[in-house]
Subunit: 319 residues, 2 copies
Amino acid sequence: VPIGIGDDCAMISPPAGAAILTSVDTFTEGVHFFSGTNPKSIGHKALAVNLSDLAACGAQPLGCLLALSLPTIDDIWLDEFSQGFRALASAHGCPLIGGDTTRSAPGSGVSITVTVFGMVPDPSMVIRRNTAQVGDDIWIADSLGAAAAAVAVRYQRLSPNQLNLLACDHALDYPQPQLLLGQSLRKIASAAIDVSDGLVADLTHILRASAAVDASANSIDPSLGTSLGACLQARAIPVDIALHALPERQALNLALYGGDDYRLCFTASPKNQQTIQNIAQTISIPLHRIGRIVATAGVTLEQRDANESLQELGYEHFR
Amino acid sequence: VPIGIGDDCAMISPPAGAAILTSVDTFTEGVHFFSGTNPKSIGHKALAVNLSDLAACGAQPLGCLLALSLPTIDDIWLDEFSQGFRALASAHGCPLIGGDTTRSAPGSGVSITVTVFGMVPDPSMVIRRNTAQVGDDIWIADSLGAAAAAVAVRYQRLSPNQLNLLACDHALDYPQPQLLLGQSLRKIASAAIDVSDGLVADLTHILRASAAVDASANSIDPSLGTSLGACLQARAIPVDIALHALPERQALNLALYGGDDYRLCFTASPKNQQTIQNIAQTISIPLHRIGRIVATAGVTLEQRDANESLQELGYEHFR
């Protein structure tokens, strides 16, 4: 039984042998979300991005802490914020067990820092990001690009005419952490990450972390550079259906470089292909095999006509 | 072995049967600390206030997460901040295992949210704040009032002439979380809290929380109000020696109502008096028996000439 809000600390009593996973993210008005964003979405997303980190590790949520900095007490705003936060917390069994509410700095807006806790039954079940191997398949869950399209529209870099804008806005404002998928991939995936910065950028995080671990295991100087790369098939990248009226390459670029989708990208031995397809059926999330880990550094895109070397282009949150 | 910075989550593997305690606090420029405060002090204090919550629960630190919002990247500032943070983390065996660094909202300053994790070997060893009993002694560790005097000087509400200002400033900027004391009080203290809002205010938190638990255990409507109070002896309150040149009542008021001292205030059965004195000797922190829990609501101060009913006057951080 966890001790809830009201004591100096909150308490979690994990089962014997369990490992506790934890993550923290700050979500600030004018930096991570636009002023005027629906407070329900802010409450949802501040928790969702953290739950997504638990998902990437294969963890089951246990609870969360909420540190809220507010310029003023606005009851309507707070009520809507809480609705968004609590609905997601409740859907994933992640009770709010403590927190801190303070006045934000003079002249500044809302800032939210959420800490989540989760568990895996034993430490060997954690899915890491630094354990991908040459020859592993690369998988992505569901679809990519819709959230990035919504951001591009809000910045007037993309016309809404060729989009399902409602679907794109929903993808940006209400990302769904893929917790069940993460838990199903324990001992199946060799490495995983949630796509927050963009597929190419986050895949590069897996490649670099895994190459560094390889180098260190083989007593190679890690500064000598990565020997792991990824080869992606252009036709296999699951561009979100909300983008299908866009020119093909434009849609593909949103899927490759756009962030904020919070889909799981994972690697796995080819011998697990059937198991992974079974998981996809069981949890009703399409899982797409989009490429393979190779021994040559960099991310390459295989296309009908020519192969292309992809730049690592991170998604700079609203900057 | 905890997984450190660099993965989606940080990992803690607690011993079987352990309970995990966690706490979060936000520390914002212009709200919780003055602009221009020494960054080393900011780093120290942002962690110290959280470690103090672990201390009040009797927990041993396991690790912490740091969410840092910065207006700009100032390497000198960051270096000094890190020195303050890491020195305290290292002194208490509380490694930084993860975090998030983001740009702060346009026009605003630094904001720091620290989450700490600690453990007790089993859940029955957690010290709560809602378990004080009528007849228990009330104890306070070390001394009170120095941090509040420093705040009053900075607001020009108190002249520095009659103070050891250096000692007061140090108490405010470098509070020492009493972790060893908290751990020593497991199964000895009936309830504990760290004095952040002021002795009277924090003691009132213990009284209200404990009265509510009593009422609920005896099927009494908790809204009927508290039946727990505290009777304090004025001469037993350990006013900090840095305040001894002040008029007696002024110094006493700083000790009673001033916040930011982060000393542990705890209650214990009178049969534990000798054990508690032994703990004081072992860990070299003076422990003062300052009063008793009574069945009459409110906090009363017994003085040579007359008894006085004390107002609950919380310490409003810099407001």
